[in-house]
Symmetry: C2
Subunit: 541 residues, 2 copies
């Protein structure tokens, strides 16, 4: 067979050939902006020419600092297809982390949303490699206090709208992202054309396959692990694409879903919690009958949320799982035919498991001794993965690489079980396990049980030092407004009593207004541990 | 990203991990035989060990000569995953072609169905490389007049049911097939692991995506271009697989579809014509409401057939297109969202077009001067293709290779148009075009129009020499029983009058009982031309 490389330009080629008139819609400050795949292809070509004119060599890194919108999508194609690497800077990183990652990546250009300019202005003098700032705005000329600033429209103006993309090596890098780094410095992951191609194609198969009848809205940010691959999957599927723009609120998400006829969307659990709360307050206003499925990822999906979507909104909410190091998708919570025969309560048990290994990957679950554990749904082991879109090394970081890999397998750092149906269940981060009296306590299990309580909105469980047991669980919970007086530690302990082993029940509770989140919306247990150490958490026993 | 090769063993790995209890059902002479993915994986492993025990080296060719059944599926995995190459001999080749292909491939073992043994016995002395015949039968011991004959069950007996498959190079060959050769000797096409992996994964996306809720029945034979990839797609999707066994009749196909709850099937148009005729005679007996879609390929799909399936059976019949040289699928007749908005008559125009280019390939339509033609639905050009599952060379056949490739593109030999929606329409084989007075006449167009006539069952049009016009069309037709007296050349000419240009209307007709077919069920125009030259066709003007 032909030696035909797996390149991202292949996606753009077919999108323009087969679905030139398909729509791409972006929510902007001034209303909905609409164009087509054909326009995307033309403007990506202009961008590629603009990088040539700018003198950006092949292999150079250019960065984006932007929300989900049409120009960001153009960057996703114009930059890698022409042989450069797009570094998608996470706008929610701390100032120090932004400086670290841009310098570590040696980015030459920063493409930045106009409303995000104030975040970068105070840092610009510490970004010596960035010589040009391109402002992502409709305006032709811009006036921002950044050196070498130019408007995106001016940057690409007057250039041809087709481009003869190079025949790259499929292993050439296309996109660079950094982990959100709950500990230590962010680590860079370089995605190759081949890896992104195979990841996208695989995510387009089976239960989650979209086609041009679909309308896909990635809520998950393009600055977060390539929006889980949606910029590639959606365009290749021919789906109408809805991009939610800057700072979408829960109302924006629900409104877009309704007005644009969204059939498929993807976001973190907090997005779906937020939308549910909004919709509950405006039930008559929404009809989600066009929604085929939603995917939640980035954190465990509480059963109560899946049930609420199914029963209150009639919408199927499924779980995906992955990491920055795995491009990211590795497991999807597809409902097997054998599971759908079960009563809804039992189905939900499987629907809230982490999911089934997607095609193309291999997995191992190993115990502390390095032996593979049984696939019995209860034996726990650390999850190892390998496959064409799994990290083989961090970018310029041999120490982190050495720590992450073992015998050619990537150590996910997650503790999991796998059952006889093939469903994986992440039970904890290996570093979030609570070690109590020589046994493991899964903080995630306890959190999920607490969040199933009707009066609990959020719950995070951490291990705190204990002289007798080494560690004991502390549950930090947010109680529903109106229930603050009735929820007590003893009532919560009673609620848990018949659901977990006795030694799993938290000794201490902390009632707070909000649980601190990481830059990607996960519960920040690192922050909770610091708050506990600093005596900032009110404790009740 | 990891240097993780794209190998067929990855499919078997996931099938056994995620869907071990999914069913594989085979129709046999003694009833339905059922087992599961887990059994398939175990027996494929035993087969791999058996090839080791037999001393078959890595890279060696072993052949199959078999219908679609469980053991043939085991060969599809056990042979290539362990590093050997499976040559799937087309059982419908002529004796001379069988001898030619087995010798050309230098096959060491021939795995053969018991009922096909009589076809091979008279040829065995001319197959010097074949030292072992393995008989695909339930029996433990066999008694057939072939040298070194052994039963399959004996061949694999007593061996371990797991196998540590080698980490092959993804470009290593996995399967060898020969073209059915309407002209000249059959030509060998070697499919790599990488090509088959990518072809299967791509055919699992979008509109034609199956999952484990599906029941797939490949009617297209495994000896014909890998049953269009179904052995890989179906197992990877987790679908229940129904294998129709030896010589399925139209009744068998219809019965299996109903009793096994088939949701997806694939076959040549003559299969679907046959099943339709059977079902029309037993309408009350069948309920095809579970069927999601059928795919037809290998020859153009008449609009009348698509309409009959839709209107009489409520079943969607779509077209696929490809060739032995392209693994085979390159275009699929998916209904675009923009097409489904049209009235049914207009929809059918698109539904019977050849289809949309599938992801991962690139195409060109070039005219006689080598220029790309417009995508206007009428400009005709020869179709060129390239991609990861497109031939780069024939097996040990440099002359044929040189003739088939131009500037890195594969010449399909098909003349096509492409419209503004991206739908390709094959209008003819370049060698089947009728050149009349300096213009092209599409034999396929005229055939399809004739087959839309209520009294015409089959029609094939060939060019015959003409002193004035160079060539003129001759239509060879099969008239419906009961209408033989009323169908005349003049009435057919009247029927065509307002549908095609005047010079396209055949000067001569030949009324026959059956149109000769090739080994894969296509109209054999080669045979018709020979019959015409030999004066064997009755002509009416």
């Amino acid at each position: 067979m032909m030696n035909f490389p797996l390149l991202l330009k292949t996606i753009l080629y077919r999108a323009n050939l087969v679905y030139p008139n398909q729509e791409i819609v972006t929510r902007t400050a001034t209303g909905m902006k609409r164009y087509t795949y054909r326009h995307l292809a033309r403007r990506a070509a202009q961008l590629a020419h603009a990088l040539d004119r700018h003198g950006t060599p092949r292999g150079a890194h250019v960065a984006s600092f932007a929300w989900n919108h049409d120009r960001h999508l153009e960057l996703y194609y114009g930059v890698p297809c022409s042989g450069r690497v797009l570094h998608t800077v996470n706008i929610r990183l701390s100032a120090e982390q932004i400086v670290y990652t841009v310098n570590h990546a040696e980015d030459r250009i920063l493409f930045i949303d106009e409303d995000l300019v104030p975040l970068i202005v105070p840092l610009a003098h510490r970004l010596p490699t960035v010589k040009t700032y391109v402002i992502l705005t409709d305006e032709q000329s811009v006036d921002v206090p950044l050196p070498g600033a130019v408007g995106y429209e001016e940057f690409i103006a007057g250039l041809p709208n087709s481009y003869d993309y190079p025949e790259l090596d499929e292993n050439d890098p296309a996109i660079l992202a950094y982990t959100s780094a709950t500990t230590g410095e962010p680590k860079g992951v370089l995605y190759s054309h081949r890896g992104l191609y195979l990841h996208a194609l695989t995510f387009m198969t089976g239960y989650f396959a979209l086609d041009d009848h679909d309308v896909s809205m990635p809520i998950v940010p393009m600055f977060h692990v390539n929006a889980w691959g949606r910029p590639f999957c959606d365009l290749w599927s021919g789906a109408k694409i809805v991009l939610p723009g800057a700072r979408p609120t829960s109302k924006d998400v629900a409104d877009l879903m309704q007005t644009e006829g969204v059939t498929f969307s993807a976001g973190v659990p907090t997005v779906w919690m937020g939308m549910l709360q909004h919709v509950r307050q405006h039930l008559g206003d929404y009809d989600f009958s066009r929604v085929r499925m939603l995917i939640s990822g980035g954190a465990a999906l509480p059963e109560s949320l899946v049930r609420a979507y199914q029963e209150e909104l009639g919408v199927a909410l499924y779980q995906g799982y992955g990491q920055t190091e795995t491009s990211p998708v590795t497991f999807l919570g597809a409902p097997k035919q054998s599971i759908e025969a079960l009563p809804m309560d039992e189905q939900l048990r499987y629907r809230t498991k982490t999911g089934l290994l997607i095609p193309g990957l291999e997995m191992r679950l190993i115990d502390a001794q390095g032996n593979q554990v049984e696939h019995d749904g209860t034996s726990r082991g650390e999850l190892l993965l390998r496959g064409p879109w799994v990290l083989d090394k961090y970018y310029n970081n041999p120490d982190a690489t050495a720590a992450a890999l073992v015998d050619g397998w990537f150590k996910t750092g997650d503790i999991a079980t796998i059952d006889e149906h093939g469903y994986l269940q992440i039970v904890d981060r290996s570093k979030d396990l609570i070690k109590s009296g020589g046994e493991w306590i899964s903080s995630v299990d306890v959190e999920n049980l607490l969040m199933a309580h009707k009066d609990i909105v959020e719950a995070a469980v951490i291990g705190i030092p204990d002289p007798l047991w080494q560690e004991r669980p502390l549950a930090v919970v947010v109680v529903r407004t109106g229930a603050k007086d009735v929820v007590t530690p003893d009532r919560l302990r009673d609620f848990l009593r018949d659901k977990v082993a006795k030694f799993w029940i938290p000794d201490a509770f902390s009632f707070v207004d909000e649980i601190p989140k990481t830059s990607v919306g996960k519960f920040s247990k690192k922050t909770l541990r610091e708050q506990y150490q600093n005596g900032e958490l009110p404790l009740r026993r």
